[in-house]
């Protein structure tokens, strides 16, 4: 019985944490990170500020946690791609996976590319997280590391991320956005276009 109620309470807390992050992302999108207070998050959830503090001590921690799932997906994508044999297979896997992640997290990408508060909060995560973005660029650039490929790879990553989060494409459905962003990457990296 005691174990049961502990399990219920743990999953209840897990649930609060998830709802907290969803609510935070919505408020960040509406008011910007700097314009959102812990109190506003608590009010929107209908809980006390102490309940928010139970999960996160600072707004930067919340911002980091909001971005965490996307960053973790990027980590495994890069790991998976590194294991493939053949440069084209690695590039194609990475490109498709990156576009998928950008589209799946487009609200977050939008926030990321527009809101100064997110950039600051994430600087730590990105820096402490090893250099998956370095590995990503290495895979896309290829073993010879030619400058024009390195620059095309950087432009592809930046272009896809910023465009995936751009306001003017917010109404596009996921599938259409995904197809167009993939096309951007393929043009830049010299990979065959979709039929």
């Amino acid at each position: 019985m005691a174990a049961d109620s502990a399990a219920v309470s743990a999953s209840g807390q897990e649930d609060t944490r998830t709802r907290l992050l969803t609510t935070a992302l919505r408020l960040f999108t509406e008011h910007g990170v700097e314009g959102t207070s812990l109190q506003m998050i608590a009010d929107a959830l209908g809980v006390t500020k102490a309940a928010v503090y139970y999960h996160f001590k600072t707004k930067d921690e919340i911002t980091g946690a909001v971005a965490e799932p996307g960053l973790r997906e990027l980590d495994s994508l890069v790991e998976d791609a590194s294991r493939l044999r053949g440069r084209n297979a690695r590039v194609d896997h990475l490109l498709r996976g990156f576009v998928d992640i950008v589209v799946r997290h487009r609200t977050l990408m939008a926030l990321f590319s527009r809101d100064p508060g997110v950039t600051r909060a994430l600087t730590t995560s990105w820096t402490t997280r090893g250099s998956f973005s370095g590995t990503m660029l290495e895979i896309l650039t290829g073993p010879e590391g030619e400058m024009n490929q390195a620059i095309a790879a950087h432009a592809a990553i930046a272009g896809i991320a910023m465009t995936g989060g751009a306001r003017q494409f917010a109404d596009l459905d996921d599938e259409t956005l995904r197809a167009h962003l993939l096309d951007v990457g393929r043009r830049l990296l010299g990979r065959p276009r979709r039929r």
Copy 2:
């Protein structure tokens, strides 16, 4: 005589303003916008804080003024391009000019793409300045406004700007960087590559 000394003093002040902006850009690059105080700018210039206040009331004003020349160049570029006849001529002129501006202001681009403080300070300038970036995208997208061209245009602008300011290409000489960034834009916009 009075007119002469007024002219000397006006040009002396113009000179201080220019030196102030150069110094501010250097300090912003070293310490970030948020890590740079008006006092630090005054110290680096060897003037009093009051002398800095004479030119600018806030750090945001300084940040805006640091970015102003680049923004003004973008304005005239878009105006010039709009006047050309023929879509290809407009696209080529705009692309070449945009790459030129990004490379000429690469220190500023680096700051822009990395520093949260710049983004915030510039939000006002970009918004009040009409929509030259809207016109730029319109020209690059073309009259039919096809979605794949619109997305390619957005990715080209974002990719060129972010890559031009990227740390890992900071050692490339201007001419090489310019050629590669032009290549990025031409691949994305389907324009002939350089020979």
